[in-house]
């Protein structure tokens, strides 16, 4: 129970900070809409739906990366990470709360991006929506861990994409597969990815914090 109450308190803090600072979500929205607009003009009319779906997934992964890059900025700027790490709560609560807040930001970006994609290209089916929902969980779980790894480094803006993007490849592959071909096997793979990487990230966070 203490773990969940700590996660709730920390996630509430992240949402409150974003509500006041309005830095991350507007940037993510602007980025994903700009990317889709560019793709709209760059892809020839009548191009295959497979191409446009691939571009949508690319835009979403980089939008998530933008959110992840900002995730630990409030902690880094005022040295708050030290105070959080010293608190007697389970340190993985920091990871869980941050992953939840990035998940909320990414979900908001997708609420705008998917209808915009439907406007520019074609609608995303229910399999696609389910794939995005499952992919978001995996992206935020693993992305928050890599974000915490990068936060202590000097070249953090460089390190985060280098750590995160290779780990996001299976998510994109399965997500595109689910969006185009439908079928439960891709969604099952995404659910398995979520479970495995959420557990790994949860377990590894304490070690990552100790090393940074």
């Amino acid at each position: 129970m203490r773990f969940f109450s700590d996660v709730a308190a920390l996630a509430r803090k992240d949402l409150l900070i974003e509500l006041r600072a309005k830095e991350t979500v507007p940037a993510m929205l602007l980025f994903v809409l700009s990317a889709l607009t560019i793709f709209h003009f760059a892809v020839p009319a009548g191009a295959s739906a497979k191409i446009s779906i691939g571009l949508l997934w690319t835009a979403i992964v980089f939008t998530a990366l933008l959110g992840l890059t900002r995730a630990f900025v409030p902690e880094r700027e005022q040295g708050v990470f030290d105070a959080l790490v010293l608190a007697p709560s389970d340190r993985s609560a920091i990871w869980a709360a941050k992953a939840l807040s990035v998940l909320a930001f990414l979900g908001l970006a997708e609420l705008v991006a998917l209808p915009a994609f439907g406007l520019f290209f074609s609608g995303v089916g229910w399999h696609g929506v389910a794939a995005f929902a499952l992919a978001d969980i995996g992206i935020c779980a693993v992305g928050t861990l890599t974000g915490a790894m990068a936060v202590a480094g000097r070249a953090r803006e460089l390190i985060l994409p280098l750590l995160f993007l290779p780990l996001a490849i299976p998510v994109v592959a399965a997500g595109v597969g689910a969006s185009i071909a439908g079928g439960g096997k891709y969604l099952a793979f995404l659910a398995l990815y979520d479970a495995v990487f959420a557990l790994l990230s949860w377990g590894a966070f304490e070690y990552v914090v100790a090393q940074t």
């Binding site: 109450s5 308190a9 803090k13 600072a21 409030p74 030290d82 010293l86």
Partner: protein, 193 residues
Amino acid sequence: MVRATKVTKRFGDKRVLNRVDAEVEAGGFLLVTGPNGSGKTTLLRVLAGLDAPTSGQVLLPDRATIGYLGHEPHVYRELTPLENLHLFGRLYRVPERAERIGMLLERFGLWDVRDQRVQTFSRGMRQRLGLCRVLLHSPTLAVLDEPFNALDEAGAALLDATLDVIAPVSAVVLATHDPGRVERLATQRLAFA
């Protein structure tokens, strides 16, 4: 309470701490002095459990009992003092949190600005709030790195009075460029060259 034995800390090729010994018991006050870059901050981070030594041993108390103030106040700029202290009070399971927070904000002269965002504060006000955060859970080991920085005379006097109260019952490790200010409390001294 806290004991460092032959602690060495390296950052790459640079050796910042070289076989340093330090031990502070409850009621002890370790005064750490030295010029910039001599290793004071690194030692304090090791003694707070924030950095691991490259070699040597550090025995620390439970981290719930440690209060650490570094060069930053370690509070969120977008939150108010009340929101910051309630967050850390929850994480530290501070009993009777609201009363404790109110008392600290009153003591450090921040009660009237309790609902203003920290980003509107001066450096000195943020430092006062950082001290409130450190004292919130009544730490038995207080590790304070240049705590007088940015404080005006009134703020420094408040910190003096607070140290007078906590020093006899807690272990305190304090680094400063102005040792005269706390010389009266020091039971041990560690001077870096």
